[in-house]
């Protein structure tokens, strides 16, 4: 029997169901009761989202079958993001979920590319990445260890948000998660300030030992019990609106999320199995919703499609866990979807809560540790997002110039300083993205360091150019042998 017998989750977005299912699966055997309180008026969500490869780990944790997941969420696969126009009007680069080349003399391959770039022979990393070539060709297969290089990439998903939420809800229910319907009218507290029950609009009391706030921006519980401030990220990340629209399916969908930088934000687009989704993330002070819609309509066919607008304000809560209440999802962190990392962050948050699941009714120490860990996680995602706007950019205009002018967060400044001076990419504790992810963005955006380390220079000067050319050809061949992404997706949907 755990120290908590009943957990009440407020909210009904995919974070809420993910939290409910994960907790029930971890502690259900010990009799933990999980109840989700859904309101009758859910907040509007985006029409679709892209994820990170880490979602696959969650599948195995929750016992979700991936084929079924793909079918039920109308999903396609994602090998990379393509960022267009972020440096100048015609710039474009891929950020692939995978390696660049192979190790050379004990050094990562991207060092070789940086070494050459410093000498004025810059080259895109894409030719050395199976994931990139496959993405460009519109091909996809799952990684396998059976052939060399064939496991040098991983993948994520593009999913329909409504279907994802419904699927996770169903999964949670199957695991034994209960659902109640109602609005929180009041909160009942114990003497020490912990929540004892939620009093609903109907007068009904919903008692619990622990409460998770997944109510999104509204922060139904956190806004009432937590006095701690909100950390504002708008100086770096001023976007506060996300428009999304469903658009017709494209003929040859690539396993790629496209983003296109605009004068006041960025537009995105990705395929689903039966349709596609596009959107615009922008700053409402500089662009009205109607203007955003018009601008999007010039790029994609938005006729009669389903649309959604979300409002947000980028930043994070200073404390995610206060007494017996935990914030997950947008209640905790609001970050634009550029990295596709929001569901990942919720997943990390739920995972850490399970690891720090209270052992007694007092959870002060757990809260301190959770907050320390999650703030580092959130800040590292913030920093990586900011980096996309700041490296190699020559775009002018009020929006871009204001972003460029803001002094960087200290850790990001340190990271970029060290990179520019030595080509080293330093990761701090608890970062989601790896060295190679930074390499994709830094190389892709043409951000060349001043110098490569003297030791690395002596190793890289000995690299055999022929070996590198062979690698390129090998990757090309391997990519060409992969099935077309569209076929791979359709096959899935047939199998189910």
């Amino acid at each position: 029997m755990t120290a908590l017998r009943r957990i009440v989750i407020v909210g009904e977005d995919c974070n809420a169901w993910l939290a409910a299912a994960s907790l029930k699966r971890a502690f259900g055997r010990q009799g933990l009761e999980v109840i989700v309180l859904v309101s009758e008026r859910p907040a509007q969500a985006a029409i679709g989202r892209w994820t990170l490869p880490s979602l696959r780990g969650l599948h195995s944790l929750l016992g979700i079958n991936e084929v079924e997941f793909v079918c039920r969420t109308n999903a396609t696969f994602k090998l990379a993001s393509e960022h267009r126009g972020w440096q100048h009007i015609s710039s474009r680069y891929l950020h692939v979920h995978g390696d660049i080349g192979v190790q050379l003399g004990g050094l990562p391959f991207y060092k070789y590319l940086l070494f050459r770039a410093v000498q004025g022979q810059a080259e895109s990393p894409e030719a050395y990445s199976l994931g990139a070539i496959a993405a460009r060709m519109g091909r996809f297969a799952r990684p396998t260890r059976r052939k060399p290089l064939a496991d040098s990439f991983t993948y994520a998903f593009h999913v329909d948000e409504t279907l994802l939420t419904a699927y996770l809800r169903e999964h949670a229910a199957a695991l034994g998660v209960a659902t109640r319907c109602g609005q929180v009218a009041e909160i009942a507290y114990a003497e020490d300030g912990t929540i004892t029950a939620l009093i609903l609009g109907s007068g009904e009391q919903l008692a619990g030992d622990f409460f998770i706030d997944c109510s999104g921006r509204e922060a139904v519980l956190m806004s009432r019990i937590s006095s701690t401030a909100w950390e504002d990220w708008r100086a770096w990340l001023p976007n506060d609106r996300a428009l999304s629209v469903r658009i017709p399916a494209v003929a040859e969908p690539r396993p790629v999320t496209e983003t296109i930088a605009r004068s006041t934000g960025w537009i995105w687009r990705f395929p689903l199995a039966q349709s596609a989704v596009a959107g615009y993330v922008y700053c409402s002070a500089l662009l009205s919703d109607a203007q955003a819609f018009d601008e999007l309509a010039q790029l994609v066919s938005v006729d009669d499609g389903e649309t959604a607008v979300q409002r947000f304000s980028q930043g994070r809560r200073q404390e995610f866990w206060t007494r017996n209440c935990l914030a997950i999802g947008e209640t905790a962190v609001q970050l634009e979807p550029l990295l596709g990392a929001n569901l990942h962050l919720a997943q990390i948050g739920i995972g850490m809560f399970i690891e720090l699941f209270p052992v007694t009714s007092s959870c002060r120490l757990e809260a301190i540790e959770y907050n320390r860990f999650m703030c580092e996680q959130a800040d590292s995602l913030r920093d990586f997002t900011i980096a996309h706007y700041r490296v190699g950019t020559t775009i002018t205009g009020d929006y871009w110039q204001a972003i460029q002018a803001a002094p960087l967060p200290a850790r990001l400044q340190q990271k970029l300083d060290l990179y520019l001076a030595t080509s080293r990419i330093h990761l701090f504790d608890n970062e989601t993205f790896d060295e190679v992810d930074w390499a994709w963005v830094l190389l892709g955006s043409g951000c060349v360091p001043d110098q490569v380390g003297v030791h690395e220079r002596s190793v890289l000067a000995r690299v055999n150019g022929e070996q590198v050319a062979v690698l390129k050809a090998q990757i090309e061949r391997l990519a060409a042998s992969m099935p077309r992404h569209v076929d791979f997706v359709q096959q899935h949907h047939k199998r189910a």
Partner: protein, 493 residues
Amino acid sequence: MSAAALAATLSPALRHICLVESEQIGTVGVGESTIPHIRYFNRRIGLDERELMAQTQATFKLGIEFVDWARIGDSYIHAFGAFGTRIGGVAFHQHWLKRALQGRALPLDFYSLPIRMARANKFALPADDPASVLSAYGYAFQFDAAHYAKYLRRFSERLGVERIEGKVVGVRQRAEDGWIESLVMENGATIEGDLFIDCSGFRGLLIEQTLKTGYEEWTHWLPCDRAVAVPSEKVGPITPYTRATAREAGWQWRIPLQHRTGNGYVYSSQFLSDDEAAERLLSRLDGRPLAEPRFLRFVAGRRRRAWNKNCVAIGLSSGFLEPLESTSIYLIQIGITTLIDYLTDCTFDPRVVEAYNRWIAMEYDRVRDFLILHYHATERCDAPIWEYCRHMAIPDTLAHRLELFRHRGRHITYKDGLFLEPSWLCVYFGQRVIPRAYDPLVDSFDDDEVDQRMEAVRRQIEHAVARMPTHDEFLRAYCPASTTEEQPRSVVP
């Protein structure tokens, strides 16, 4: 170590290395105990491990035995390896903890291969198969530091390092910014350089005496400020571990080499006089002393900046942390390898210098916290030093870590810096920091199934240890001490 690493990793076109050394100024080393990281260093610069061991009277080290730390009569081993393996994604020690709190657990040591090997005086090299329990440990060396230095000197000279014998009597600095231009030698010669590496030891000839960099003192957390060392005759089987015994004013080390044993007493001058310390040390040797005791003075702490202008302090000139966890050579290693990683040219970009200093400071701070844990987590009240340490305020970073472990056995991991979870666990449990509760996830597993898996691990370890040769047998076959000084035959690629 610095000269050898620079010479071995930088191409000759990029460097000219000059080592200034004085025979008049002695080195400290009696016997030096290392941690497994030294093997990466040796491999990186291309040293042959067997030859190195034979040349330095080296023995294998699986860990450190801590005697009398939490209570008089206690003994635990901090070994280079984990306890068991994760079961169902939950740390092994959490499953064990549940059983311990229910009073039905075997000692945790039974699930650690290197601890069982050490207790049995056995040794074998780890297996190659990473999935096998027999590969889940590391090893280090106990060697004669003076021999190691000589060996590296020969290695460096062969790679073209110029060695200049003599004493530095002056340092010339650039008028405009204080950068070091040259060293003035006793014979009047001057030695110019772009980068000066200060390996002059605790006094910090360049970093402190010349550049006045400043020092952050940690005496309030690590009160020992003296050591007395003496070698003694070898007795009995050679233990594959170092011993650190808590004493009335500090602790005593015992480091077995192939030909003799290194001993020392690290103490606080506040609680013990030099004469008393030497006397106590001599009375507690297990073999006849082979030399007069030698004294050392130090102040625990760290240089405020390891890299200042065009001078980098490596080793004791960059800080002093007592050798309780054998970190001295590690800190030298990290200083020089990080420097090599960060060097781009001779302009010494301030962005690089800052990053280097942050890194070195982080390394020192993390080792410091780990050392403080040994002193603080004690129940001893038989001597003023232990009374003091038990009640002293500890760094916030350590306080949170310790409190969370005590609360629920949760270890806080970090990515960089020394000492991973197994090390912290050894010391927590060894120092009687017993958590009040275990991870609740453990209760989601079937008890019998977990019991069986734990028992399987224990049996596998016992069988493996039984089949291993003794440490003495292994040494005789693998790397008997060489009587001649050989030129290092190792080749740099």
